[in-house]
């Protein structure tokens, strides 16, 4: 890799790489400024959806690929440990993406009728980032899991 920048001396390979990068950028259809929620926005969204509960790590399993080649459709499975009885169950599960234009991905409302606190869906990821899952229990306690996903081609 040459450290000198001489546009006229770009090899064919470098040109191709540069145009591929431009295309990938164009495909996201958003400018970098509007392409990311701020950490403050994520925090605010978590507080709002958990009713200001203290969010503790644990009980939640977040299954996502280590590397997502296509950010437009990333398979995600969320599981929460819970007996799912009338008295003790998961009431809601919220998913947040720290590097997407909007902080909340989706919110799921379940209850004892679910039998099992688990669901799977496909999500969009604009760039390499952390995904955060927060489960709110029937007693108001909140538990979370976080996972980093490396995104090869963003898809928001």
């Amino acid at each position: 890799m040459s450290s000198e920048l001489k546009p006229s001396a770009l090899t064919r390979r470098e040109m191709l790489l540069a145009s591929a990068a431009l295309l990938a950028f164009a495909a996201t259809g958003a400018t970098p400024r509007e392409a990311q929620a701020t950490p403050a926005e994520v925090d605010a969204a978590v507080k709002k959806l958990t009713n200001n509960a203290a969010v503790k790590p644990g009980k939640v399993t977040l299954e996502l690929p280590e590397i997502a080649e296509n950010g437009a459709s990333v398979p995600m499975t969320v599981k929460v440990e819970s007996p799912m009885t009338d008295k003790d169950h998961v009431a809601a599960i919220h998913i947040f993406a720290e590097g997407n234009p909007r902080p909340v991905v989706l919110s799921v409302k379940i209850g004892p009728r679910a039998g099992k606190a688990e669901f799977a869906i496909r999500i969009r990821m604009a760039q390499t980032q952390n995904v955060l899952a927060v489960a709110v229990m029937s007693d108001g306690q909140a538990f979370s899991a976080k996972k980093e996903v490396k995104v090869t081609a963003g898809g928001c």
Partner: protein
């Protein structure tokens, strides 16, 4: 445009936890993309989903823009009684797509 498919076991034992799989064809347009002419493509997302078991909601979801196009969603429910499961997706214009399945519980 929005064709939905659901997969529910046709029969189950009472109390059994069953998996339900759903899929719907939808662009999930975020309102953040631009067309080739540089014009913003208007937002049109499915904003919510509900599964009702004999009229009682057993799984509900609110979607934001980070849910992928043509979303595949799977979840679980307890087979409580024979009857009908309804699946309703609602978009930004409050247009609903409905699908249903029946189950026999012994």
């Amino acid at each position: 445009m929005a064709a939905a498919q659901v997969r529910v076991p046709s029969s189950a034992k009472k109390g059994e936890v069953i998996e339900i799989k759903t899929r719907i064809a939808h662009d999930m347009e975020t309102g953040m993309r631009k067309d080739s002419a540089g014009k913003t493509i208007p937002r049109l997302m499915l904003k919510s989903f509900v599964c009702k078991y004999n009229g009682t909601p057993v799984f509900e979801a609110d979607f934001d823009t980070s849910v992928s196009a043509n979303p595949i969603l799977s979840f679980f429910t307890v087979a409580t009684e024979s009857g009908k499961l309804e699946f309703i997706w609602t978009d930004d214009n409050n247009v609903a797509v409905k699908e249903e399945a029946s189950i026999t519980v012994a």
